[in-house]
């Protein structure tokens, strides 16, 4: 079942008197439960593509269908609703809200979904348990290590059980040990919850886990590679550095 379908996506930004083409006629389809990544050097359009898929930005041409919803004519309220219900984001810089505790950070997407208090609590505690940070429930982001922060960010992304998780360079600020742990958890979540993961990365450590690698160069898909290597690895989790 297709969870993301991208058709003829073009994104151009004004660059002085000219236009800079960040994405150039990108056509992709992601199926439910995929563990895939968009890879390429800096400036190749990875983040732009993720932003388009996440309905955070609108394309210059083309369109995308996310979780069965055509984003072409969506207004900001509808795209917010789409993100709220179907998409989880993981950022390179974690983007945790510093005022809030770990619990409150993870609870935030559920608050926006207006779930009842009891249900929220259960889901938050479950997510924290999955990520192995239940002992940090009352900590503030400033009190956490980089790895712990990213775990909280992952918990926040998956707590509402979204159809799709978009992870933009999730391991860029982590050491090998923490990268390994985070990726292992994502693989586990992908397997247990059938959540679709799409990464934007140029980190070799992440690439090892990917079952599908979409190579971007200057905004164009130059290779769409489905490997069995990643699948093998997450089958017996031996990618520890």
């Amino acid at each position: 079942m297709s969870i993301v379908s991208v058709k003829g996506l073009v994104k151009k930004y004004p660059n002085g008197t000219n236009w800079f083409t960040a994405l150039d006629n990108v056509n992709l389809e992601f199926m439910k439960g995929e563990f895939s990544g968009v890879i390429g050097p800096s400036g190749s359009g990875k983040t732009t593509l993720l932003n388009m898929i996440g309905a955070l930005d609108s394309p210059t041409e083309g369109y995308s269908v996310i979780a069965g919803k055509d984003t072409r004519n969506m207004n900001s309220r509808e795209s917010a609703r789409l993100r709220n219900h179907h998409i989880g984001f993981i950022f390179q810089t974690y983007n945790l809200l510093s005022f809030y505790s770990v619990y409150e950070n993870v609870e935030l997407p559920l608050l926006l979904l207006e779930l009842p208090g009891q249900e929220r609590r259960k889901k938050v505690l479950d997510a924290l348990e999955w990520l192995g940070i239940e002992d940090k429930v009352n900590s503030r982001p400033a009190q956490l290590s980089g790895g712990e922060k990213q775990r909280v960010a992952v918990a926040r992304a998956v707590v509402k059980r979204p159809d799709l998780v978009l992870a933009d360079e999730p391991t860029a600020n982590l050491d090998s040990e923490n990268s390994f742990n985070i990726l292992e958890m994502m693989v586990k979540l992908n397997r247990e919850l059938e959540t679709t993961f799409i990464f934007a990365t140029h980190d070799e450590k992440v690439m090892k886990y990917l079952r599908r690698k979409i190579h971007l160069m200057d905004g164009r898909v130059i290779k769409d590679e489905r490997s069995t290597e990643g699948e093998k690895q997450f089958g017996h989790s031996q990618a520890r550095p």
């Binding site: 983040t47 732009t48 932003n51 996440g54 955070l56 930005d57 900001s76 309220r77 917010a80 609703r81 993100r83 709220n84 219900h85 984001f89 950022f91 810089t93 983007n95 809200l97 005022f99 809030y100 409150e104 935030l108 997407p109 608050l111 926006l112 979904l113 207006e114 926040r156």
Partner: protein
């Protein structure tokens, strides 16, 4: 969006705003302190002016104006030269009211007094000692003494260095222009808030003054007991309603109130600047948070509402703190009053030794509405940039 959904949405935003405010720390304390100061000063000062107006009005009504006055057509209190010709027969129509104690004639004549060997011009006011229209202790003028009984005010006594029981020479001209003089004795020194009937005024029995000036049955003004505008005009007499007679004092208070408005505006501006600065800084400092909230599924309108609500909450907290701190203070001032320096007397406003502020519901509600409206607008204005914010840039902590 259904009403119920909107309501739940608002609750989520309120919860987030409260959390952010709570975590705001020093920023929250400073904003709240600035607003509390503004609220208390505005209400405090406005209450003083309201108190001043109320006290002055009450004193003038009780001691001078009563329910309005008939003035002889030549009478002009601001022109001493008009006094000589300002007298006439008490109109027939008013005699009944006077007899029933509902109106009181006063004859005003120019005179000269010689206290302690000095010469001083004075207004001699003749009034029935048994009158009940004004709250003046005129019954003290009822005396068997052959000297002319004179009542003066405390200001007059102080300035002329006169004491109760002392006598003084009074000179006047009768209706024919003939000078005459008599010895007057200070029988009482009254305490009135109204300088206009105190300084330079000698109060004597009406019949004695009419006799002295050869003006029997005549008066300069007739003070009416009850407040009404519907008095029948009498020929040669002009009715001045209570409202007209109070207009000068209202104008003085209004002028002072307007000048104080400048201070309020500066205060209000300072308070609002604090909120505005906080909002602008918040938007800059929290741009990553804004981007994240949008990514998590908040609409821009919700984020704008969140930030505006945070600003408004400063106002709401400030109101709560103002009630906690201000109520006891304002209650104390209302019951104990504020001692006024003697120099206030020279302003020409009828005020007592203490000023009792009046904090009306209208004043408090008006100030609250004003503050909350301005806080809301000031909180909202900077947040409009969120509508133009590119969330993909904001997530990375950039503002475009």
């Amino acid at each position: 969006m259904s009403d119920r959904r909107k309501e739940r949405n608002s609750l989520v935003i309120l919860r987030l705003a409260l959390r952010n405010i709570k975590e705001g720390g020093l920023r929250t304390y400073l904003n709240v302190a600035a607003l509390v100061l503004v609220i208390l000063l505005i209400i405090g000062f406005q209450g003083l002016f309201d108190g001043m107006l109320a006290s002055t009005t009450r004193a003038m009504i009780e001691d001078e104006v009563a329910g309005g006055q008939f003035w002889h057509e030549n009478y002009d209190p601001y022109d001493p030269l008009s006094i000589e010709d300002s007298h006439g027969r008490i109109p027939e129509k008013l005699r009944n009211s006077i007899k029933e104690g509902e109106a009181e004639p006063v004859l005003i004549r120019l005179g000269t007094i010689y206290p302690q060997g000095r010469m001083q011009t004075a207004l001699i006011r003749g009034i029935d000692p048994k009158q009940k229209v004004l709250s003046l202790p005129t019954e003290t003028l009822l005396t068997e003494n052959t000297d002319l009984p004179v009542m003066i005010g405390t200001r007059m006594a102080r300035n002329m260095k006169l004491k109760e029981g002392e006598s003084l020479i009074i000179r006047w001209r009768d209706s024919k222009g003939t000078f005459d003089a008599a010895e007057g004795r200070i029988v009482s020194i009254m305490n009135t808030q109204v300088p206009a009937i105190d300084e330079g005024n000698l109060w004597v029995p009406l019949d004695r003054l009419q006799e002295m000036t050869a003006l029997p049955g005549e008066a300069t003004i007739i003070i009416m007991g009850s407040d009404t505008d519907g008095h029948t005009p009498s020929s040669g007499w002009i009715f001045r309603s209570r409202d007209q007679l109070m207009s000068d004092i209202r104008e003085i208070v209004r002028t002072k109130r307007i000048s104080s408005l400048i201070i309020y505006l500066i205060l209000l501006f300072s308070g609002m600047l604090a909120i505005f600065d906080t909002q602008v800084l918040s938007l800059f400092r929290r741009r990553r948070e804004i981007g994240t909230l949008i990514a998590l599924g908040m609409t821009r309108q919700q984020v704008i509402a969140l930030f505006t609500l945070e600003g408004m909450l400063y106002g709401i907290i400030a109101l709560a703190v103002s009630i906690l701190l201000g109520l006891p203070l304002l209650f104390y001032l209302t019951s104990e009053g504020i001692a006024l320096p003697e120099i206030i007397d020279s302003y020409g406003i009828a005020m007592g030794e203490r000023l009792y502020p009046v904090y009306s519901f209208e004043l408090v509600a008006g100030t609250v509405i004003l503050i909350m409206s301005v806080v809301t607008v000031v909180s909202f204005i900077p947040t409009r940039t969120i509508a133009r914010l590119n969330p993909t840039q904001a997530i990375q902590g950039k503002i475009t």
